[in-house]
Symmetry: C2
Subunit: 213 residues, 2 copies
């Protein structure tokens, strides 16, 4: 199909498609004349993946590029693919907590990881962000929220196991490339799914308790 | 304290503090001379709140401004405060799913909300985002992930109840302003807490299953 048709089917404007082509997120179409290229179903699929990561996952274009490079690579393990996706969606905060508060937060997080038997790379970006978030709760006089860390981790472990089960349940019917793509989509859009469900559950409780008509 | 001292104690650079003052996020200090202002503990506290929302909550400055206006207002109910915080952190996707796929996704989400007895405003931004995310799973051939919606909602309901309990456990010892601030911080930083815990739980499972040394 021509670029206009690709735009119509995908709902993505032509200038945006051209931008993704320039940035190397989308592979070039097959040239049918010096000024015209033909695009196939693999372009449409890739374009939908890019839009989902950008729009729903709120991943910056540079992050999407690194994820797509990882998906295109034959040498990265699934563990490394997941690492790329994680780095693309983990906020990297400026460290503003005081040394003392951060040390307390780090000790709390270390104890959590140890007690759960989690295998975590000490350089994992999510580790720094979690410590800084716990430190922020303390700095903002919301220690009671950080006190629920273990209960949160319980709930989170449950649905992480569900997510892994969802991906591996299809492992026998799919290629390694499809598994990697499924894991990346699940990691990133799964976060959007969980956060919107949480907002809806909060809204419902809030409407029942605090809504003033 | 002078602005340089406020910067030192908070870890926020002076130009950033001046930007927040210009944008009206931070109230002006008390003028002690035509060129000098004095800042107190309430400025330090507000500055730390702004940094936490921007850095850890990844809330854009315009969203932080709306949240702070809400916190400053005497007329907004707690339910409306929560609504402001929700709108500030809900991705607003372009709608690219086809009409047919979106209708299927909307039916699945409607059924979820109905079966759980949730009270949701039909205009809730999280509702649109959830429908579009479920539609994206379908469009990207990941229907199996959308199939876990109900199990996710189970897990999410559990920790939302924990979060509300955490806030209301302090309600007798705090003013309405402090409750509103606590709810907003819990809503926004709670999301960072949950998402980083999820990434760590995923990393651990991934390291145990798929890491290649």
């Amino acid at each position: 199909m021509r670029i206009a048709e690709l735009s119509r089917v995908s709902g993505v404007p032509v200038p945006t498609i051209k931008y993704y082509l320039r940035e190397g997120l989308l592979p070039a179409g097959e040239l049918t004349s010096p000024n015209q290229a033909d695009y196939g179903d693999q372009h449409l699929h890739r374009l939908r993946l890019i839009r989902a990561l950008v729009d729903l996952g709120e991943v910056p274009v540079a992050g999407v590029k690194r994820i797509i490079e990882a998906l295109n690579s034959d040498s990265l393990s699934l563990h490394d693919q997941i690492g790329r996706a994680h780095r693309a969606i983990t906020p990297q905060p400026q460290l503003t907590a005081s040394t003392e508060v951060r040390a307390e937060a780090a000790a709390q997080v270390d104890e959590l990881v140890r007690s759960r038997g989690w295998t975590i790379d000490p350089d994992a970006p999510a580790l720094t962000t979690l410590i800084e978030t716990v430190a922020a709760f303390r700095t903002l006089d919301q220690d009671h929220l950080a006190g629920f860390l273990d209960s949160y981790a319980d709930a989170v472990e449950k649905f992480t196991e569900l997510e892994v089960a969802a991906v591996t349940s299809r492992a026998d019917r799919t290629t390694p490339d499809q598994i990697a793509e499924s894991v990346v989509i699940g990691t990133i859009l799964g976060e959007t799914l969980i956060s919107t469900l949480r907002l809806l559950a909060q809204e419902s409780i809030s409407a029942q308790r605090w809504k003033v008509d």
